[in-house]
């Protein structure tokens, strides 16, 4: 049986003072890390501008904001139309390419059919008291959701920065979106 005292300091073991300093250092690092990771974050990339595809990012954004998430929605390509004050009130539903539509594709491809199916959907939305796109955007903005409009596609589509809802961030690109995604707990491409 050894008679060595287990706590006795040996030459290569760190001293009590060194250990205490190391503990302090680690505690500081932990405080910093938890403070930085305080809030939950969600990042959504919205790329579609049809009426049906405009809903999911807005519903998830407003709901995540209600959960206390810091939410960023980066709108690019047709997704820009969701933030476009005028176009957002007139988003269309495509009647072609969706086999769940009540009309066969051959009929759906006829001129004016998109207008018909859009009207049908708008009526359903109204009858069901489903929030409109405008309502969801205004509510999300109220709750602190950050809507970003991709500058490259603003230029590509020939939109003006004033075309978007008040509160929409312009002058941002892919790097901004990537930074948000890297930092987020939830990342979605819609």
């Amino acid at each position: 049986m050894s008679t060595d005292t287990p706590d006795a300091p040996s030459d290569d073991a760190p001293s009590r003072a060194e250990l205490a300093a190391r503990v302090d250092e680690l505690e500081d690092a932990l405080t910093e890390a938890t403070a930085e990771d305080d809030g939950k974050k969600m990042s959504i990339i919205a790329t579609k501008g049809t009426l049906d595809m405009a809903y999911p990012p807005l519903i998830l954004a407003s709901t995540a904001a209600a959960f206390g998430y810091e939410v960023t929605v980066f709108h690019t390509f047709w997704g820009l139309d969701i933030l476009h004050e005028k176009r957002s009130k007139n988003l269309k539903l495509s009647s072609v390419g969706n086999p769940n539509m009540p009309v066969p594709n051959a009929v759906a491809a006829l001129p004016g059919m998109d207008r018909v199916t859009t009207k049908m959907m708008e009526k359903k939305i109204d009858d069901n008291d489903t929030a409109t796109i405008e309502e969801l955007i205004e509510t999300s903005l109220d709750m602190g959701v950050e809507f970003q409009a991709c500058q490259m596609t603003i230029d590509l589509m020939d939109y003006d920065e004033d075309d978007f809802y008040d509160g929409v961030t312009t002058g941002v690109g892919a790097a901004t979106a990537l930074e948000d995604m890297a930092d987020a707990d939830i990342q979605l491409l819609v």
Partner: protein
């Protein structure tokens, strides 16, 4: 009404559908005092699961109870911080 709470505020979201019952509940609870109870009246049947899920995943709120009445779903949420 069977729930016996000292209700601070009643939010009527009858008719509204997802995501509005949850979103309006969040907005309303932020406006009441800590410790206060918010009564939410909804007709959206999804609100039973949604408000439960929201309260479970959100800091500072506690779901006290939910009731399924005649066509109206009642939710009682306390603000805890």
């Amino acid at each position: 009404m069977s729930a016996e709470y000292d209700i601070s505020e009643t939010l009527d979201v009858k008719g509204a559908s997802c995501p509005m019952p949850v979103v309006k509940t969040k907005q309303a609870i932020d406006d009441i005092e800590v410790g206060g109870v918010l009564e939410v009246l909804a007709t959206d049947s999804g609100s039973m699961s949604d408000i439960d899920g929201w309260a479970g995943g959100t800091d500072g709120v506690e779901l006290l109870s939910q009731e399924e009445g005649d066509d109206v779903y009642k939710h009682y949420v306390r603000r805890t911080e």
